[in-house]
């Protein structure tokens, strides 16, 4: 659905925490924002692939919705 604008930032934060918890995403405080976003896209791809979603690397609504489902606290992918 169209996302109520103020939620977009909130969703991005939520997704970052989800990927840190379950997909071993480490947000490096780099000066290069693009690099950081690429890393996050890679992790989104891993998560989309695990759940059989369309692998786009983008935080679309189906991906975000899957992230919001009640779940187990153990990571899906670990280093």
């Amino acid at each position: 659905f169209p996302v109520a604008p103020e939620k977009e930032k909130e969703d991005m934060q939520f997704a970052k925490k989800y990927l840190e918890n379950f997909y071993d995403f480490k947000e490096e405080k780099t000066l290069f924002k693009a690099k950081d976003l690429n890393q996050m896209s890679d992790k989104i791809r891993e998560m989309q692939s695990f759940f059989g979603l369309e692998v786009t690397g983008e935080l679309n609504h189906k991906t975000l919705d899957m992230m919001k489902q009640p779940r187990c606290g153990i990571p899906d992918i670990r280093s």
Binding site: F1, G52, K68, P70, C72, G73, D76
Partner: protein, 404 residues
């Protein structure tokens, strides 16, 4: 399935467990039964035997806690993470923690999480399984509200645990007691272990097949419910939803599950209160509120909360009038008017539909307000009504919105 790095397992067949505390959401006996049944699920397909102990250190220590609880993985309040458990090992190894901020239940309900289901998943971790990406497997990371009365492990779960421990020897071992229990607890009357029958060829477990997907342009197409949502229009039938968006030309056709996995399909009615970014779904004598994909907490609620008499057990259709801030509920040949500002049913209702909506002399399946008109759906027809002028404008096929 998957295992943890280096595939840690218990190097013995007799594994002990201890329940350290209880959730106030359930009877203690129900907690004990749920845990025992969860262990029995795994012992029935492996050589493992689980013994409950009542003091001292056990291999698997089971506890309920909220927020920070002494390990590095704090819980997160209601929803989100429900529980976690550690792979086999010393100390915290094998332990299972359940988030006390969740509502734990004995049965599968809307208003909580089934402890047996979550415990069975977490004990899979305590035995060395990690997550499975097979939808329908117990070790799938996301909680799936499932009927647990005759719960069976998915073949993927069995393959995974038997890769770690092998198959059971002669008969499934049941959890036993080590010491005379301080408090007498009834041993779970389990059916006498039957000889493990060679499993039939595993059938792929798939969610129950939704009814045949209806054709968008079937001239006999009818709808269960229709609502707007953030400028789009959603048409519901059985377990399907059509999405008509002002932003895209084609009609999207999805399952309701793909938007709200925990809502049961087959809505009776739906409407949006647009200035609250809120859509209400009705099924039988209950209703839910969602904001986008999120189901608001505290739902479902009984429709009597809105002011319906107990004689009303379900509603046929609902539509919110953005001009008057009234919501009209249709039941049989009558309708009610609900004031969204005062959150109360208006006096003088119910009234006959035909008295106020010209040309609508029959029950309404679904209702919609769009472009200043009201649309009342009855079977495969819809009636466009100008309620200001109390005039029936035209009658069309119900799916005329799909550019057929």
């Amino acid at each position: 399935y998957s295992t943890f790095p280096h595939s840690p397992t218990w190097k013995k067949e007799d594994v002990t467990y201890r329940i350290l505390n209880y959730t106030p959401d359930m009877l203690q006996a129900d907690v004990e039964e749920a845990i025992a049944r969860a262990f029995q699920l795994w012992s029935s397909v492996t050589p493992l035997r689980f013994t409950r102990v009542y003091s001292g250190q056990a291999d698997i220590m089971i506890s309920f806690a909220a927020g920070f609880h002494g390990d590095f993985y704090s819980f997160d309040g209601p929803g989100g993470t429900l529980a976690h458990a550690y792979p086999p090992g010393n100390g915290i190894g094998g332990d299972a923690h359940f988030d006390e901020d969740e509502n734990w239940t004995k049965f599968t309900t809307y208003s909580g999480y089934n402890l047996f289901l979550v415990a069975a998943h977490e004990l899979g971790h305590s035995l060395g399984l990690s997550h499975s990406n097979v939808f329908g497997a117990l070790m799938y990371p996301i909680y799936m509200a499932t009927d647990t009365r005759d719960y069976q492990l998915h073949q993927d779960d069995i393959d995974g645990i038997q890769a770690l421990y092998g198959p059971p020897k002669e008969s499934p071992a049941l959890p036993t007691k080590a010491f005379p229990p301080q408090e007498p607890t009834e041993m779970i009357p389990a059916e006498a272990p039957t000889e493990m029958s060679p499993r039939e060829e595993p059938t792929e477990i798939t969610p129950s097949k939704p009814p045949q997907r209806p054709d968008d342009c079937d001239p006999h197409l009818t709808f269960d419910a229709i609502t707007t949502l953030r400028g789009e229009t959603l048409f519901f039938k059985d377990s399907y939803v059509w999405r008509k968006s002002p932003y895209f030309s084609e009609i999207e056709h999805d399952t309701i599950f793909s938007f709200w996995p925990s809502l049961i399909a087959g809505f009776d009615a739906a409407y949006e209160v647009d200035n609250k970014d809120r859509v209400l779904f009705f099924k039988d004598d209950q209703y839910w509120a969602v904001s986008g994909y999120s189901i608001q907490s505290g739902f479902p609620k009984p429709i009597q909360n809105l002011g319906f008499p107990t004689s009303v057990r379900k509603i046929d259709a609902a539509v919110h009038d953005q001009n008057t801030k009234r919501t009209y509920f249709f039941v049989g040949k009558q309708y009610w008017s609900f004031n969204e500002n005062t959150q109360s049913m208006e006096r003088g209702y119910p009234r006959k539909i035909a008295a106020d909506f010209r040309g609508i002399g029959h029950p309404v399946d679904a209702a919609l307000q769009k472009n200043g008109y009201f649309y009342f759906f009855h079977g495969s027809n819809q009636y466009e009504v100008d309620i200001k002028k109390k005039k029936l404008i035209r009658i069309m096929k119900s799916n005329s919105w799909f550019n057929c």
